[in-house]
């Protein structure tokens, strides 16, 4: 089991309430995933890349790490600690900074990198994780969150969802993949770097790889249907888009609701029941192996 919620604002009517509404949705899914939780929140694009970093030891010297990163890459970095995370604002090539951290800071996991996305995670009660990182106080365009009941790998903060391996791209997963070990090797050979043993990180890496190769979200997910084997309901975020995909067997639940102002997706309707104007929403269960996507760019 696991719980997924996603909320995508089609208009700016509730943009200021994005975090608050996402926290309400996450709260309803805490029974589906009491191990750990996390969320990705997309705001207005920043002028520079943001990296959200997790200290695996809780004792990382962020100031020292920022200095080392600047010395090694020449990139200017501002750092802001948040609990056991830190947000690094990087003037220049964010991908280069991400790669350097992964290669040179073994006590740190890069949770996200991009101009719009910020990812925060924690072990324990989903409500406490949301509160710790002030999910309810945040605004933005879309958010994806996850409550985890671990099956495939250890309960750690780094192993919590969402997983983000490409700029401004993230994925949450309910299910289990059966060919993730093989694909982790395939993707490594294609330049992806992985930071956990988690099967869902491989799915995120797969999407990042396909999109780097030129696929848009729909094309990347069409390829995923052919390549990824296992059970899954995915919710995917990009800088300006949101997508949902269930595997062809569709064992893992999902429900989508849409109004003129928002699109919401969750494992169960009770998370959606908390949203404004839900009485007038179109509500449906996404069909197996069918890609549902929304974008502000379209």
């Amino acid at each position: 089991m696991c719980g997924i919620v996603g909320l995508y604002m089609k208009t700016d009517k509730y943009a200021g309430d994005l975090g608050r509404l996402s926290a309400l949705m996450l709260h309803e899914m805490r029974e589906r995933g009491p191990d750990s939780a996390g969320f990705a929140l997309y705001g207005e694009a920043d002028s520079v890349d943001k990296m959200v970093l997790l200290s695996k030891t809780g004792e990382t010297d962020w100031v020292h790490l920022a200095v080392r990163l600047t010395e090694a890459t020449g990139l200017d970095v501002e750092q802001q600690p948040v609990w056991d995370h830190a947000v690094f604002r990087v003037a220049g090539d964010g991908l280069k900074a991400r790669r350097w951290i992964i290669d040179n800071a073994p006590d740190v996991t890069v949770l996200s990198q991009g101009r719009s996305i910020e990812v925060f995670k924690g072990v324990g009660d989903p409500d406490q994780v949301a509160e710790r990182f002030d999910l309810a106080g945040r605004s933005g365009t879309h958010a994806i969150a996850h409550t985890r009941m671990a099956t495939e790998s250890a309960v750690t903060t780094a192993g919590s969802h969402p997983f983000s391996t490409g700029a401004d791209t993230c994925l949450v997963h309910n299910g289990s993949l059966s060919n993730h070990n093989r694909f982790r090797n395939v993707l490594r050979a294609n330049g992806e770097s992985f930071q956990t043993e988690n099967d869902s990180e491989v799915a995120a890496g797969y999407l990042a790889w396909r999109m780097r190769e030129g696929d848009n979200v729909d094309a990347a997910l069409t390829n995923a249907l052919k390549d990824l084997d296992g059970f899954y309901t995915f919710a995917i975020g990009t800088a300006d888009g949101f997508a949902v995909l269930r595997d062809p067997i569709a064992c893992k639940p999902a429900v989508i609701a849409e109004t003129d102002d928002w699109v919401a997706m969750s494992s169960e309707f009770r998370a959606i029941a908390t949203l404004p104007d839900v009485a007038h929403a179109e509500i449906w269960e996404p069909a197996p192996a069918q890609i549902y996507s929304w974008s502000h760019a379209a």
Binding site: A250, P253, E268, F269, R270, A273, T274, I283, W284, E285
Partner: protein, 230 residues
Amino acid sequence: MSDVLEKNSALDLSSMTVREVNRMLKDADNGDFDIYNPNGLHALACGLMKPISATIHGHVGYYCAGMNQHAVVTVTGNAGTGCAENMMSGLVRVKGDASQSAGATAHGGLLVIEGDASARCGISLKGADIVVGGSVGHMSAFMAQAGSLVVAGDAGEALGDSIYEAKLYVRGSVASLGTDCIEKTMTDKHKTALSGLLERAGMDIDVSEFKRYGSARELYNFKIDNAGSY
């Protein structure tokens, strides 16, 4: 308990727990109940054993009206996974759509889904009747043993896979038939039975628009020629 309950009692889940509502429904011998603010909660109106009527106003979560006996349960919105699972008797009506495994293992009674049902509708059906006004998803009536599944729309892939003696009636297209499920002749006996089911479901549809499917009975016995496959 029942003597303190008045007919047409309104139960509000915004101020009562699921257990409190289910307890009140179970303790009543008769009466009509309206249940408000279900908001996708699980296990509503489960295990009812008396001829009461309960109308749930809104969308319900998993296992609504599971194990029902004698009661009439109506959901005005959509139902989550496992609606009316293992029903024994009575009537469960969903006015919206139902998620997967609706009517799973149901032994008796009638489940009416006015909208669509998703995957595995009537899986391992054991004698209940299910009438779906819309379409059903893949693997519906998988290993269905007895009872009927009526689909006024289309059926998804692998309809009736490994079916025993349940009767399937589909009005629209069938994406594919499952192993050992075949189209069968619609006799007058079947037309009469189907007509009765549609009437009980409140659906005015001409039975001549339906096709019947059922078991080829090729999987009933072990075939020695296949021994090498195991």
